[in-house]
């Protein structure tokens, strides 16, 4: 990365099918950068990688067809209705979606009857639900989530976690960047700690309790830096 943003060192990350990986780390550690790099939103200035067996630099289009991104800005047009937003997104992806399919998706995210609601009138929670509804229509294999739980109410959080779990159970995967340890513990089965642009520590969930996670985080993320760790 060039310019004032932080660079990432050689990162070695592997996500098995069906896994949900949480990227943890303090602010500015590079977890958002890594996430956006893998989601093809930014290009690596040196080195490369593979996502879904496609090269990050040469296969960007093919990667984009199979992934979905949920971040705190919802990428929706305020002046369109929920229906129009979904129709536009589908058309831009070259997908034909019927009105029935859209209504069904809206129903599954708790927005039934809101098809003609203008997005400006939606709350943040409703907008996030609409984004999940969009994902339901496109069925991505791999999800990238950037601090997805911010400002969400309990019901929306449950909906989101449920959706991520369903993608994982169907053989897909998800990578979640978050600093919310309890949510990370609830939804992920692998944890990776990023600090100053490098992976300092990673562990699977088995044998790890929530308190242990908290403790390890406190030691490796906030304490003095160390290179050793379980892998």
């Amino acid at each position: 990365m060039f310019g004032p943003t932080l660079a990432l060192d050689a990162v070695d990350l592997r996500v098995e099918p069906g896994a949900v990986v949480a990227l943890l780390g303090p602010n500015g550690a590079g977890k958002t950068t890594l996430l956006r790099l893998l989601a093809t939103a930014i290009k690596p200035s040196a080195g490369g990688g593979r996502v879904l067996s496609e090269d990050l630099l040469k296969g960007r289009d093919r990667i984009r067809r199979r992934i979905g991104m949920i971040s705190h800005s919802h990428h929706l047009y305020d002046d369109l209705t929920a229906l129009e937003n979904l129709q536009f997104a589908a058309a831009m992806r070259g997908l034909r979606v019927t009105r029935e399919a859209i209504d069904k998706a809206l129903g599954e995210v708790g927005l039934e009857g809101q098809a003609n609601g203008k997005l400006r009138t939606f709350s943040t929670g409703m907008k996030r639900r609409l984004v999940i509804g969009k994902m339901l229509l496109f069925a991505p294999e791999l999800l990238f989530l950037d601090e997805p739980h911010n400002t969400l109410d309990q019901a929306a959080i449950a909906l989101l976690d449920g959706y991520v779990a369903s993608v994982a159970s169907r053989g897909g995967g998800a990578i979640v960047a978050t600093h919310n340890l309890s949510r990370a513990y609830a939804m992920a089965d692998h944890f990776v700690l990023i600090r100053d642009g490098a992976v300092t520590w990673r562990a699977p969930k088995e044998g790890l309790s929530a308190e242990m996670l908290r403790e390890l985080y406190a030691r490796y993320a906030e304490g003095p830096e160390t290179v050793e760790g379980r892998s």
Partner: protein
Amino acid sequence: MEPRTRFATTLGAAAAIVLAVGIYLALVAAPPDAVMGQVQRIMYLHVPSILTAYVAFFIVFGASVLYLWKRDLRFDAVAVSSAEIGVLFTGITLATGSIWGKSTWGVWWTWDARLTLTAILFTIYVGYLMLRSFAEDPQAGARYGAVLAILGFLDIPLNHFAVYWWRTLHQPSSLLRPGGPSVARSMLVPLLVNMLGMVLLYTYFLLRRVQLERGRHRILEGRLKRGRRG
């Protein structure tokens, strides 16, 4: 001294020598113009400046294309350096053209084809430099700049036709005419000498400016690497 720097310095020395000869020829050896008198000698500065500026902007175009294709920052360094020097030479052209105009036609500015085109060229490349500096980060600046440089280059022939059809007050181009240069022999030699000197000077400036830019790249890269290891 590093070989690259040695080469640049030699080039600079060569430029200085050629220009010294050129200036002597221009101011002393060449005959005064039959119509315009001594003032016409400004042509020996004016014409080489604009031709060198064209060379500079062609290099900006070439380097921009190469940068977008290969994404090698060295090409971008050449592009921005050449643009800066091009703007400098274009500025000299405008200033000398203005002075020449004042003495010949009595006005500081006329909207004749060549001056207008030069002014447009000037604004395009000043815009290029501004775009780069206002971009959110240096890589975006390089990218946007490259696109603008390519558009600008495609635009130049179109501007040429448009402005020429609109106006023709300036002398028709004496140098770049199909029949060959129509300038008197005694004036042609000092002109060509100064032309060579200017191109050498441009190349010297380019090499030094690119070195400076590459140094800047290395500092930024180093800062990033150091910042990461805490």
